[in-house]
């Protein structure tokens, strides 16, 4: 633990080095800006800017990308609170109470509370990261192929089933992602798989093209000529943003509870940010003395979900960096960025790339302070940007997507890939499939296959290796638990629906009660 503090001190040296500090600043600024723009979230922000980091060294590149990530979360909250625009899904729940606050003229206070909660939660998450990472590393060295496969399976299952919507659809999308990861030449046999005779696909599908297609183009296809114009006449002044003592007191415990929810979910691989904020909100509503105030503009309904998303973000970095297992789609993208820089995430990362790891942790603090400082004067600018009409924003974004993908490998073929993934993504969104698990599956796919293969080569084809090794057995039982829980929910729901259907056919029984019992 003492060693951790010494390392952290060293990390601050790295994070405050002028060049690194500059890129960190650029990252949070751009992230904040893009987070504010309607329809653009952390995923699109990171994928557009990923190619720009190729020319940088590994440390500033990762600091900048991480800055974009938490910067865009700040930006997302602004759109949600001031204009009722969930610019990306995790903030949808913030709209519920944030926008009513704005309508009551309390928008500035809501933003102030959000900033306070975010900073508190991020700091807590960073502390957890500092003390938990070395612990996890000491365990991680015991991880063989069987353990790695089991934990990845857990991550994939959780990512598929715990996103919003139907769990079977989530798992189906995870499988689709795994298949997308297979495309290319098999490293073991040299067989070309799923290349459809195209030489350009013999390497692999391009991560940036996949991400921008699924989250950029697909989104435009879905929203073009349908996006609601943002109408708002909010004026936020600086002095409105400082919350009063009573307001801080009101938001304090919700903020702490939100932070803890986020920490817990961050440690669990595969649970997305959206589900985290929704659970934080639901928990707050349940423990609240006057739950009827939620939806009318309760500060607790803003503080808790925002805190949970920020602590989750920080804690998510632990499995990503130390095990090479990303918690969600954004982490998967950051993992891809690390690999492009030639850095192999894993237990050895903390020792081999100490400057990168501790520099990153220190930069989180530096970046979060920068964000607070930035947002105070820039809030007016963000409000103006929020009013940039969609009709001007999306053609410009189309160009940035095209050029961003091209610059990854100087390949026009990959721009074509974006188009294909965009169309596939739009169809899947229209059919109400969650697309985020695809990216998680794509990034983990090759690792899952490789470790599965290795584990079974070691055990000479004996599948029981996954349950006979203790650490692996724990993960497998968690997987089984997850599946069992989903199955029992599903059976309950189908039975309930069947009963409800019969009740309606007879049209005698009021089905309100049974519905309430099914979805509380």
């Amino acid at each position: 633990m003492e060693q951790s503090l010494i390392d952290l001190w060293h990390g601050f040296g790295v994070a405050l080095a002028p060049q690194n500090l500059m890129w960190s600043f650029v990252g949070v600024l751009i992230g904040n800006l893009i987070g504010v723009l309607p329809g653009m979230g952390a995923l699109s922000a990171i994928s557009i800017l990923l190619p720009l980091t190729y020319s940088l060294h590994a440390v500033p590149a990762i600091l900048m990308l991480a800055g974009i990530f938490y910067g865009s979360q700040y930006g997302g909250a602004i759109g949600a609170i001031l204009l009722n625009l969930p610019t990306h899904p995790p903030h949808a729940v913030t709209c519920l109470d944030g926008y009513p606050l704005t309508r009551r003229g309390k928008g500035g206070t809501a933003l102030g509370i959000t900033m306070m909660a975010s900073f508190f939660a991020a700091s807590f998450g960073i502390l957890v990261m500092i003390f938990a990472s070395p612990l996890l590393v000491s365990v991680a060295f015991k991880f063989g192929p069987a353990e790695l496969f089991s934990i990845m399976l857990l991550g994939l299952l959780a990512g598929g089933t715990m996103s919003r919507g139907s769990p079977t659809k989530g798992v189906a999308m995870t499988c689709l992602g795994l298949l997308a990861g297979i495309v290319g030449t098999d490293v073991n046999s040299g067989t070309m798989r799923f290349t459809f005779g195209l030489v350009e696909l013999s390497d692999h599908l391009e991560l940036v093209a996949l991400a921008l297609g699924l989250f950029g183009i697909a989104d435009f296809l879905h929203n073009v000529n349908r996006a609601q114009p943002a109408v708002s006449s909010v004026e936020v002044r600086l002095r409105d943003m400082a919350p009063s003592k009573a307001e801080v007191k009101e938001a304090f415990w919700p903020m702490v509870r939100g932070t803890l929810v986020g920490t817990l979910f961050g440690a669990m691989p595969g649970t997305g940010p959206t589900i985290t904020t929704f659970i934080a909100y639901a928990l707050e509503k349940r423990v609240s003395k006057n739950p009827e105030r939620f939806g009318q503009g309760a500060l607790a309904g803003v503080a808790s979900p925002e805190a949970s998303s920020h602590s989750k973000t920080q804690v998510d970095f632990i499995p990503t960096m130390t095990l090479g297992i990303p918690g969600d789609a954004v982490m998967a993208l950051l993992l891809g960025a690390l690999l492009i820089q030639g850095i192999q995430p894993g237990p050895q990362l903390i020792t081999e790339h100490a400057d990168l790891f501790w520099g990153l942790i220190a930069s989180f603090w530096v970046g979060n302070i920068l964000l607070v400082i930035l947002n105070v004067p820039l809030i007016g600018v963000w409000v103006k940007i929020l009013r940039v009409p969609y009709r001007l924003m999306y053609p410009a974004a189309m160009f940035f997507i095209a050029i961003g993908v091209y610059s990854t490998n100087n390949s026009l073929f990959e721009v074509g890939e974006v188009l294909v993934f965009g169309i596939i993504g739009a169809i899947l969104i229209a059919l109400k499939f969650p697309v985020a698990p695809i990216l998680l599956g794509y990034v983990l796919g090759p690792n899952v296959e490789e470790n599965f293969r290795r584990a079974l080569t070691i055990s000479s084809g004996n599948i029981s290796i996954f349950v006979s090794r203790p650490i692996s057995a724990v993960f497998i039982s968690l997987c089984a638990l997850l599946v069992a829980a989903q199955l029992s929910l599903w059976i309950k729901r189908t039975l309930g629906a069947a009963r409800k259907g019969r009740a309606r056919d007879q049209s005698t029984i009021n089905d309100g009660a049974s519905r309430d019992a099914i979805d509380p």
Binding site: R226, P395, I403, Y406, V415, K432, R453
Partner: protein, 158 residues
């Protein structure tokens, strides 16, 4: 409220029908391709083992989505109107970027992608689309060609 919720459910169910079929077909396709590659055994896995496994799970998920979808509802409920103008412009814009970029260079490709995407939005006039595209060409030349020295000639012939 109840009628509205049921209507929504009806739409989502009929969508599940298409979604389930799509997943089953994709899963079966993956199994079929996987079987053509070498399968191998558990100890010595071939290239086909993993695709067949994942494909099976995918098909299974498709089937369970279909079961959840149940019988098709008689009315499909409210349907959003197709947005052909926007869709075709977005697709064309990217196709144009690839083709114009291949044969004409960065500057005309930038113009093409922005202009075609812009006229896809009903609220854009010819003039505002033109203006936006010219601004984006300027951004493209300054940021990507001049500042970032991207490997993409501004103009090229054929």
């Amino acid at each position: 409220m109840s009628a509205e919720a049921d209507g929504e459910k009806g739409v989502s169910r009929s969508l599940d029908y298409y979604g389930g079929v799509l997943m089953v077909v994709t899963g079966l396709g993956s199994i079929w391709r996987g079987l053509e590659y070498h399968m191998g055994t558990l100890t010595q896995m071939g290239a086909g083992y993993f695709p067949v496994g994942v494909g099976s799970v995918l098909a299974l998920m498709g089937v369970s989505t279909l079961i959840g979808a149940g019988r098709l509802p008689t009315s499909t409920g409210k349907k959003s109107t197709p947005e052909w103008r926007g869709w075709s412009c977005i697709v064309l814009a990217l196709v144009a970027f690839v083709l114009v970029g291949r044969f004409g260079g960065l500057a005309p490709a930038t113009f093409a992608v922005t202009f075609i995407a812009a006229i896809g939005d009903r609220k854009n006039s010819f003039r505002s689309s033109l203006l936006l595209s010219i601004v984006m060409v300027a951004v493209s030349v300054v940021v990507f060609w001049w500042a970032l020295q991207m490997q993409f000639p501004l103009f090229r012939w054929g």
